[in-house]
Amino acid sequence: MSFNNLDSLYRQVIMDHYKNPRNRGKIEGDVLTVDMNNPTCGDRIQLQLKVEDGIVSDAKFDGEGCSISMSSASMMTQAIKGKKVEDALAMSKDFSNMMLGEEVEFEDDIAALHGVSKFPARIKCATLAWKAMEKGVHEQEENE
């Protein structure tokens, strides 16, 4: 593998999200908060979701991790904001399928992460934020 292959992993848009994360921080007030970590490597994320009338009205994250996990969190929060909860979950399913190497259409920056599927050791980095989102939504549903 040459650095050309690395370029398929570390796309410019990924590096941009890593360096300039969107939606990094905390949401004021009483919102859904999920902590998740990847125990094999130490990456951790805290995801906060504000859900109103079945719509994700705000999403923010905080945490520490590699370029893939943090950029994925940045992109995920960007993508699900304003979406219906069920659409966010469907997107998460699409994302998992993309990690398995399937062709999936993503309109936004997320498409840049498709290269991760060729680096099996890094797939868990990319899916961390999505798993946190799923967990949060399911916890909310159970409480309702």
Partner: protein, 406 residues
């Protein structure tokens, strides 16, 4: 030591990864296996496979001879008084847990202390956390010096007359610190405590003499010294092992079984319930033969030279942070600028270089270092200065690659 001919005995090293010759720098996680070990396991299954200690038939006695022969090789390797003091386990973790369950939990009571250090691997922390919780004993840590070493003053201050058990790594798997374990054992004994040494990063790399160290327990894993995974050793002083109850009950470890009561076999078999790890033990015996042929002193000298060379070369890289003392075992844990260790490891892998990235099963130590993760290059007898050069080149490329980002 002729590293070139040693390398030829490790078939796995002769391959390309991502278009580059493999540079394997993750031996602290697990070491590669010499052909003689692979062949010994293969030959056992092809020619001698049978259960041990029960068959009257020829294969049964051949398997038993090989299995017990491996125990004798381990005894000589660590210079135990008797092979009754050598218990085969699944690895270091099982060995430590055997002491935690079979010894610590039996003797500890409220007010007693267990003393460990912040540089321990999780496998030498969690068994003691659990034993402390179960018995009401207190878990205490010997504070580290700024460079990641242990001072004997700090050891003396932490171990008290209430301390019943001290558990310390022989060598740190992150910092590379080689601990003054003989001196720590003396201090433990002066206070009436027993001492367990986690030898996972010790036994593969240096001569270990359990009688000279005067440790009460010494635990290590076969797979970090060229043997298969799934085999390890618990050494214990006979008097302590005699006093201990078995941890696993079942076949192989019993003497007489009545309807409501049973008695145990003598040492070491009372700790080896169930069909043992026969092929693994034979593989460990072959690994010990292999290491002895080269000589443990020669291996230690080679690794010391490599450690110095690696420290000199790596410290010239702008933006690198190296953790641990200057004098160390042959491993270097580091971070490079703000590039996350996963990203470092991925770029190095693209160059055929295998390093470990993450918390190295030492989360308390990561907290002490104030980092969430690190990268680690670890060396063994088959590594060369050229491997270090390739690592340095790879790290410079990593910097270049991520240079635009940071």
């Amino acid at each position: 030591m002729d590293v070139k001919s040693i390398r030829q005995q490790f078939p796995i090293l002769n391959q390309e990864i991502n278009g580059h010759p493999l540079v394997y720098l993750d031996s602290s996680a697990t070491a590669q296996k010499p052909l003689s070990v692979i062949e010994a396991v293969d030959a056992y299954y092809r020619e001698d496979n049978a259960n041990v200690h029960r068959g009257v038939h020829t294969l049964g006695s051949r398997a038993t001879d090989k299995y017990e022969g491996a125990r004798e090789k381990v005894r000589r390797f660590i210079h135990a008084k008797s092979s009754a003091e050598v218990i085969f386990t699944r690895g270091t973790t099982t060995a430590i847990n055997t002491v935690a369950y079979g010894y610590a939990r039996q003797i500890l009571k409220e007010g007693d202390e267990i003393v460990i250090t912040p540089m321990e691997h999780h496998s030498n922390i969690i068994p003691w956390q659990q034993a402390a919780k179960a018995t009401g004993a207190t878990l205490k840590y010997i504070p580290l010096e700024e460079d990641g070493t242990l001072s004997l003053d700090a050891v003396r201050e932490t171990i008290t007359k209430q301390t019943k058990l001290v558990a310390v790594a022989h060598v740190s798997n992150v910092l590379g610190t080689i601990n003054p374990v003989k001196e720590i054992a003396t201090i433990a004994h002066e206070n009436g405590a027993v001492i367990l040494l986690d030898g996972a990063q010790g036994a593969p790399h240096m001569k270990v003499d359990v009688q000279e160290l005067d440790c009460d327990f010494y635990a290590f894993s076969g797979h970090k010294m060229g043997a298969p995974t799934g085999i390890g050793v618990l050494y214990g002083k006979r008097a302590l092992l005699e006093q201990m109850e078995p941890v696993e009950f079942g076949g192989e470890m019993i003497d007489f079984v009545n309807l409501y009561d049973s008695t145990w076999k003598e040492l070491p078999w009372k700790f080896e319930g169930g069909t043992p790890i026969i092929a693994g033990a034979i593989g460990l015996g072959a690994a010990i033969d292999f290491l002895n042929e080269i000589g443990m002193d020669a291996i230690t000298a080679h690794e010391e030279k490599l450690a110095h060379y690696a420290m000199d070369k790596l410290s010239t890289i702008d933006g690198i942070s190296i953790y641990g003392p200057k004098e160390r075992a042959a491993l270097v844990t580091f971070n490079l600028d703000d590039v996350h260790p996963h990203d470092v490891a991925t770029v190095l892998d693209a160059e055929g270089i295998a390093v470990r990235a993450g918390h190295h099963c030492a989360q308390p130590l990561m907290k002490w270092l104030d980092v969430t993760a690190t990268a680690r290059a670890s060396f063994y007898l088959y590594n060369t200065e050229e491997d270090v050069d390739k690592l340095v080149e790879g790290l410079l490329k990593t910097k270049e690659y991520f240079g635009d980002v940071f």
